[in-house]
Symmetry: C2
Subunit: 323 residues, 2 copies
């Protein structure tokens, strides 16, 4: 008696420091996961050589896992042409990643069908399939970190926009008179609630309250001070949660979603930001639109990228086989 | 030789003053159109008696039009449960319209399949099918009037939100410190760019410039003064177009749509607001997201409601027959 080998998927999540990768199944279970430096400051060929060495290694795990790798999913920073699996233009944190033809290169080398998407979309997909928003149709995801990333799922599908340039939720302005953003706009929520924005505000508050401003501020330090009840820290977090609440109220009035998932380093804090954000959101949003909306902390943490890339590949692979 | 009778659809558009109605075909051509007072200040039964008298009359036109009415589409103010064809709660301009069971009543009386949707959704659908955004997949529609209504089409389908309470684009805040809105939020675009907001600003500017403030300000008067080059009027329109540009930049960063359609009384002005709005939008939105977005004036004018209701019925009728 022979049994068909289990279908396995490679998921890769490229970042400015590391590339995380995993082998997983259709259900998003990770059977093997690791990371290595992405060498993002080097040439495109060097980055691809890192990617190739990873895939080469992962393919050797198939047998041990009693499975067969049938497709690759890949999350990348930047705007990604989902249809062709390649970058559209450049992305700030990876110097030589302009127009990188990820699908083209991987399919040519491995003969495995490959799907590529923006990293925030991939994380949103992971949370919607097997994370905080599993089973939900209309999902908004925000990732709070150095910047603020966004992902939108409509009827269970990632919404990418007409030129794959939508879901830039960090660049929704909540005040047209607000601080100038790197993107050229004013008052983007990224200027109020990213990690750097949060620390800038905390530094200001410490200064105003004649407290010493540590040379190296970090969100870790900030949250430690919140836990110990320091006024400047508590006020900072309250203010940032209010800004996020204003942004979420807009997203609720626009999308009337089932769930808003908040992830990223900031959201991983021990303190519960979600309740504070939700309270302000409910004060500001239209009652019929907000009534059933849940605000949830992301569940997949720093595995969301790998899991999402696997789900991306698994979904697309299944759809392709149905045709 | 017999020919099958042409399939015709009734489209109705209920408003606070009038109910507009029409008979049209699958392509959204109106073969007959009229309006009569909606008697919106009276009881729900009275309003339904107006609706019944209209349908009774329209059914008598079938023969003359060599067709057969096969379905009814209906646009109503308020949140509409699309699945059940009835109001969710109340709507401000029609006193006794709470929970009105439009589909239930019409299907029971006429045996014709009936679909009901929010009026702004219906107008967006009309523009996306046969108006300014025809053939486009991802469409945002704004209707500037006493309030600001919104409609969203994703991949050619109306997006309604998880509880049919989404697309409230007039209640996207562009300044969390802005003026208080009727909805309870602050800085909603409706407070900056609806007809009353525009006239409030114009009155202020006239006052500041020591000019007489007419007792009855109207957008008609305002636009007349713009055409004659009055500084206060020109400044008012420039400022309002900038606010709309800020709002559109947000919608572009979120949706990266194909087209944004702007309709409603304000947009019907002879002067070209679209260019001014588009200029500010392009300054503020992310370049990859805005590059191909078109801002267009709605084309269907005050027929959009009837045409959209017909398209709503025609689409749903066709989909139902395919099952």
């Amino acid at each position: 008696m022979t049994t068909a080998k289990k279908e396995l998927f490679i998921g890769m999540d490229l970042g400015g420091s590391f590339i995380k990768y995993a082998i997983g199944d259709r259900q998003g279970n990770l059977l093997y996961a690791d990371k290595r430096p992405s060498r993002a400051d080097q040439s495109q060929d060097t980055i691809f050589s890192v990617i190739y060495s990873i895939v080469d290694d992962l393919l050797m795990h198939q047998e041990r896992l009693h499975g067969q790798i049938v497709a690759i999913g890949f999350g990348s920073p930047g705007s990604v042409d989902f249809e062709h699996g390649r970058l559209i233009g450049a992305t700030p944190n990876i110097n030589d990643w302009t127009d990188a033809d990820i699908r083209g290169r991987l399919e040519a080398r491995y003969g495995l069908p490959t799907w590529v998407d923006n990293d925030a979309n991939v994380m949103a997909l992971a949370e919607a399939r097997v994370g905080a928003a599993r089973g939900k149709a209309n999902v908004i995801a925000l990732t709070l970190g150095t910047g603020i990333g966004g992902g939108i799922l409509i009827a269970g599908e990632v919404y990418r926009g007409s030129d794959y340039a939508g879901a830039e939720l960090g660049h929704m302005s909540i005040n047209f008179l607000g601080p100038k953003c790197n993107c050229g706009n004013f008052g983007c929520i990224e200027q109020y609630a990213s990690a750097p924005a949060m620390l800038r505000l905390y530094g200001q508050k410490l200064h105003e309250q004649n407290l010493p401003v540590p040379v190296e501020l970090s969100t870790f330090l900030l949250f430690e001070q919140v836990a110990s009840g320091q006024a400047a820290a508590v006020e900072t977090v309250q203010e940032v949660c209010a800004y996020l609440g204003y942004a979420l109220a807009n997203l609720v009035n626009i999308f009337n979603p089932d769930v808003i998932v908040i992830g990223g380093g900031v959201a991983d804090a021990d303190i519960d930001l979600m309740q504070q954000i939700e309270k302000v959101m409910k004060q500001r949003a239209l009652p019929p639109a907000v009534r059933q909306v849940q605000v949830k902390r992301a569940e997949l943490g720093n595995r969301a990228g790998q899991v999402g890339a696997i789900m991306l590949a698994a979904d697309a692979y299944a759809a392709q086989r149905q045709v």
